[in-house]
């Protein structure tokens, strides 16, 4: 398991930058939106929580299809499935590796981007907290979607279509936490829900994803 985690981390560092890129994409979204929307501080501050969360989500999405597709293409997924390693565990580990190279750096960098979008001061803490709690759910849900589409070449867009609706609750609760946080309101319920989604997804989805993988390898 640890070997798999290390391998996946190493692979994403070697092949085109790991950490750097998820982050860079997030940054780009945060830069492009003001470019597209225009520079008024008031509007930007209002949409900042939502845009930051949408950006995080898209940054995750863009790297999702790599979770299994590369291993499928070069045959290592076959070999992993026949290895003495529960496939559920492999899925969980791969999702964790994905989180470490996308979700985590994104969370750490988010305050800087909040700055670019004029996020109100009170919001920063909650931005970081909500991303820290919510992004693991994005990775594990994404791993499920990737497992569903692993056999298909050009699965990228299909994957997006399948996964984004699944991201909706996480997005809403996550953005809600930041919005309420920024407005100085009570954030207990959405935060609890966010945590519940992450916990539930982490507990159950690896099984669904492993089942999907087995079906796809058949």
């Amino acid at each position: 398991m640890i070997a798999l985690l290390l391998r996946d981390l190493r692979l994403s560092f070697r092949a085109g930058g790991g950490f750097g890129l998820g982050l860079a994409f997030f940054l780009l979204v945060a830069v492009l939106v003001p470019l597209g929307v225009g520079p008024e501080g008031g509007t930007l501050a209002k949409i900042a929580p939502g845009i930051l969360w949408v950006g995080a989500l898209l940054a995750c999405l863009l790297s999702l299809d790599r979770i299994f597709a590369l291993d499928f293409e070069d045959g290592s997924l076959d070999l992993l499935a026949t290895a003495p390693l529960p496939l559920e565990g492999a899925v969980a580990v791969k999702a964790a590796a994905h989180w470490l190279v996308t979700g985590l750096p994104l969370t750490l960098a988010s305050p800087v981007l909040g700055l670019l979008l004029f996020l109100p001061e009170r919001g920063y803490l909650w931005l970081v907290v909500s991303l820290a709690i919510g992004t693991p759910a994005l990775s594990i849900i994404g791993a499920f979607g990737a497992a569903l589409t692993v056999g298909l070449k050009r699965g990228g867009l299909l994957l997006g279509l399948l996964v984004l609706p699944l991201y909706v609750p996480t997005l809403i609760f996550g953005a809600e936490v930041v919005k309420r946080g920024a407005a100085g309101m009570e954030i207990g319920t959405p935060l609890a829900m966010l945590a519940a989604i992450t916990a539930g997804a982490t507990a159950l989805l690896p099984f669904a994803a492993a089942a999907a993988l087995r079906i796809n390898l058949r």
């Binding site: 692979l11 070697r14 499935a81």
Partner: protein, 214 residues
């Protein structure tokens, strides 16, 4: 430690391709599967490896004793030769000693720090075979293992295989090329080919309503 296959039928793309395959592979034995392209060798091996369910018949094999090597080598292009092997050694829990030994035996020591992307076709294949050695599994299930290997490497492989058999291992090999293993038994698969309409997935949905349309 014995692989027993009895009356196995395997399917690909919803059609039974082989049926009635039976054989028995004991420790120390090697069995070469032969048959024309498309007869179903790969399908049979994948079924044995547990990657797809059998249509009929049974496979009995001690748990955790198979190591499967497919057409594709499952190498990571950006990892070095050592890293590739070390990963599988960790997965199979065989440790670093196994890695060094396997590299020695498959003549990969000189390439240890080379990335897999920068290997030639035959060198990649050698690395793929070295992976088998680090699994520490007794029964090898190999799909055309000597593709792209030069004569010297084929000999090296035969030699490694003999050592494996001598130490109580067993091997099931699908191949079109002569491996230089006179002691191996040969199973010709062509007679088990399941064609003719009668054998479309037996008992499957597609057949269960023959005649429903009058």
């Amino acid at each position: 430690m014995e692989l027993v296959v009895s009356d196995l039928a395997v399917e690909r793309g919803g059609l039974v391709v082989l049926a009635g395959v039976s054989f028995r592979l004991a420790a120390g034995g090697a069995l070469v599967l032969r048959g024309p392209n498309g007869v179903g060798k790969t399908t049979l091996l994948r079924t044995l490896a547990g990657l797809q369910p059998a249509v009929a018949g049974s496979v009995s094999v001690p748990p955790e004793s198979l190591a499967y090597a497919s057409h594709a080598d499952g190498l990571k292009a950006v990892l070095t030769v050592t890293e590739n092997l070390a990963f599988w050694a960790a997965v199979y829990g065989t440790g670093a000693g196994a890695v060094a030994g396997a590299m020695q035996r498959m003549n990969l020591a000189a390439l240890a720090e080379r990335r897999a992307a920068n290997l030639s076709a035959g060198q990649k294949r050698r690395l793929g075979l070295a992976r088998l050695l680090v699994t520490g599994r007794p029964i090898w299930v190999l799909d055309e293992p000597t593709v792209s290997l030069d004569a010297a490497s084929v000999e090296l492989f035969a030699w490694v295989l003999r050592a494996h058999l001598a130490s109580g291992g067993a091997a099931l090999i699908a191949t079109h090329i002569d491996l230089g293993l006179p002691e191996a038994e040969v199973l010709e698969l062509a007679p088990f080919r399941a064609d003719g309409p009668a054998l479309a997935v037996a008992g499957g949905f597609d057949d269960s309503f023959d005649g429903a349309f009058g």
